[in-house]
C-alpha cells in the first residue's frame, strides 16, 4: 500500500506568511506532530532572497518598494529569485528515512515530475547540473533542500507563466555572475512553460498535471488537507518574531553610495562604500570568497574609514587577506570615489523613468 501524504493548498499568497508556514511545517513534521506533506503554493509578486545573500546587492529594493513587490528572505541558500502567481512552488516535507537516497539522487527524483509535466505539454526538458531543469539552455525549474534533524524538505519552483520584464527589473545580480555563461541577464537565462508552448497557460491545470506526476514518481497517495491549529499557531508566531521583520529580510546593512564588484580567484569580491567628498566615510566588504577570520575584514573596514581611495589601497595591501582578494580589493578601490558615487545615482533615476 502506498504511503499517504497530505496535499496542502492553503491559499496563502503573502510571501512572509508563506515562509512562516514552511518553517512551521518542517518543525512540526520533525516533532511527529504533522504528517508528510506536499504543499503547493503560489505567491503574489515577491523576490525571495537566499539566506546568506545581501538583499541590497541582489535586489533593486527601491523598485520593489515602488511597485509593491515584496522582498523576503528564505531559510535556505541559493540566489535571489522573482516569483508571481503565474508560477508555482512546491515543498515536500517528509521523514528522511522515507527516501534514504543521497541528496543528489533526491534532486533528480523530485525533478522528474517537472520533466514529465513539460512532456505533457509537448516540451522536452532535462535535468541539469545539481538541481535544475532546463529547456534547451534555459532554466525552467530550480530546487533546494533542507535537512532538518530527522526531516527533509525538498522545494522547487516551476516557471509556468512569468512576467520576465518585471523579473529582470527586480533582480540586480552582479554582472560577474554571468561572466562564464552565455546568457547576459536573468531574463535570457530562464524560460517558462508558457513561453515554450507559445501561449499563456492555466496555471491550475499545470499544477494538476504536476500533482498527478508527483504521486506516480514518488509512489505515494495524496489526501487533501488543511493546516492544523498547531501549524497555524506556530506559523503566526514565526511570522511575528522572524519573517515579517526587517532584521530578517534586509539584515542591518544600510544603502551605500557606491558598490563595485570584481571576480577574484577565490570568488566575487564586493566593496560597498559611502563617500564623503573624496574620503571613504564607511566601507563594507562582502562576497563569496572565503576568509578564515571575519575579524580581519571588520578591522579592515574600520581602517578604510577616513581614507582617500589611494590611501585605502595601501591599507588593503597590508591586510592579512588572500593575495587575490587583496589585489582585487585594491583595484576596486580605484573605482570608488565621488565621481563613481555621483554617477551611480542619476543612472538609477534614469532606469526608474
Amino acid at each position: 500500500m502506498s504511503p499517504e501524504w497530505r496535499l496542502l493548498r492553503d491559499g496563502i499568497t503573502d510571501a512572509h506568511h508563506h515562509f512562516a508556514v514552511e518553517e512551521a511545517l518542517v518543525r512540526l513534521v520533525d516533532e511527529g506532530l504533522s504528517p508528510p506533506t506536499l504543499r503547493l503554493r503560489q505567491v503574489r509578486r515577491t523576490v525571495f532572497v537566499g539566506v546568506f545573500q545581501d538583499t541590497w546587492a541582489e535586489v533593486d529594493v527601491d523598485y520593489c518598494r515602488e511597485y509593491g513587490i515584496k522582498i523576503v528572505r528564505r531559510a535556505n541558500a541559493g540566489g535571489a529569485v522573482y516569483h508571481d502567481a503565474g508560477s508555482f512552488c512546491y515543498s515536500a516535507f517528509f521523514p528522511r528515512a522515507a527516501f534514504p537516497q543521497s541528496e543528489e539522487k533526491l534532486y533528480r527524483l523530485f525533478a522528474a515530475p517537472v520533466i514529465r509535466t513539460c512532456a505533457d505539454y509537448g516540451v522536452t526538458a532535462h535535468f541539469h547540473g545539481r538541481n535544475d531543469v532546463l529547456v534547451g539552455e534555459r532554466k525552467i525549474y530550480g530546487s533546494a533542500q533542507i535537512a532538518w534533524y530527522d526531516t527533509f524538505v525538498q522545494s522547487g519552483t516551476f516557471l509556468v507563466n512569468m512576467d520576465f520584464d518585471v523579473m529582470d527589473r527586480t533582480l540586480t545580480p552582479p554582472a560577474l555572475k554571468f561572466a562564464d555563461k552565455p546568457a547576459r541577464s536573468v531574463k535570457e537565462r530562464v524560460t517558462s512553460l508558457a513561453r515554450e508552448v507559445g501561449r499563456e497557460l492555466d496555471t491550475d491545470k499545470v499544477i494538476e498535471r504536476f500533482t498527478a506526476n508527483f504521486t506516480q514518481v514518488l509512489g505515494i497517495v495524496l489526501m487533501p488537507g488543511d493546516l492544523t491549529p498547531e501549524e497555524r499557531e506556530l506559523a503566526d508566531e514565526l511570522l511575528a518574531v522572524k519573517y515579517s521583520t526587517d532584521e530578517w529580510n534586509f539584515g542591518t546593512r544600510q544603502a551605500y553610495g557606491a558598490m563595485v564588484s570584481a571576480r577574484a580567484k577565490g570568488g566575487i569580491v564586493s566593496l560597498f562604500a559611502d563617500m564623503d567628498g573624496g574620503t571613504i566615510r564607511e566601507a563594507r566588504i562582502r562576497g563569496d570568497f572565503l576568509v578564515s577570520d571575519r575579524a580581519t575584514l571588520e578591522q579592515l573596514e574600520r581602517a578604510l574609514a577616513g581614507c582617500r581611495p589611494k590611501e585605502a589601497q595601501v591599507v588593503v595591501q597590508a591586510a592579512e587577506l588572500p593575495p587575490d582578494v587583496r589585489e582585487t580589493l585594491a583595484r576596486l578601490l580605484a573605482e570608488v570615489g565621488p565621481e563613481k558615487e555621483e554617477a551611480a545615482r542619476p543612472a538609477e533615476t534614469d532606469k526608474d523613468g
Binding site: R73, A75, A77, A147, W148, K242, G251, L290, V291, R294
Partner: protein, 103 residues
Amino acid sequence: MSLDEKVTLEAYVARPPTRKCRQVIAVMEEMVRRYPDQVRLVVFEGGAEWPEEPSRALRYALHKGSTVPMCYVDGKFLVGGKVPTLDEVERGIKSALEPVEGR
C-alpha cells in the same frame, strides 16, 4: 590557555531554536562546563548576524546548503542533521586537544 588557543565548538541551529536545537546547545554547553579553560562555544542561528566569523569549514557548509543543525569542533565537521551525543563531542574535543597537549 588564552582565548585564541581554546578549542572552538560551533553549533549552527535554527532561529528561534527548536527543542532539538536547545538539546544541541545544551550538549555543547556541558562540554564548556567540563573543559572551561580549554573550550569555548559559538552558536550561530540561521539568518541571524553571525556573532563572529565561522570557521572556514562551517562557512563553506553554510553556503553549500542548509542542514540543521551542524556542529564543528575546532573547524572540523562533527555531526549534521542530528543532536550530537556528549561522547561524540568529547571525542572531538579530545582529538583537537591532543596536539596542543603534546607540544
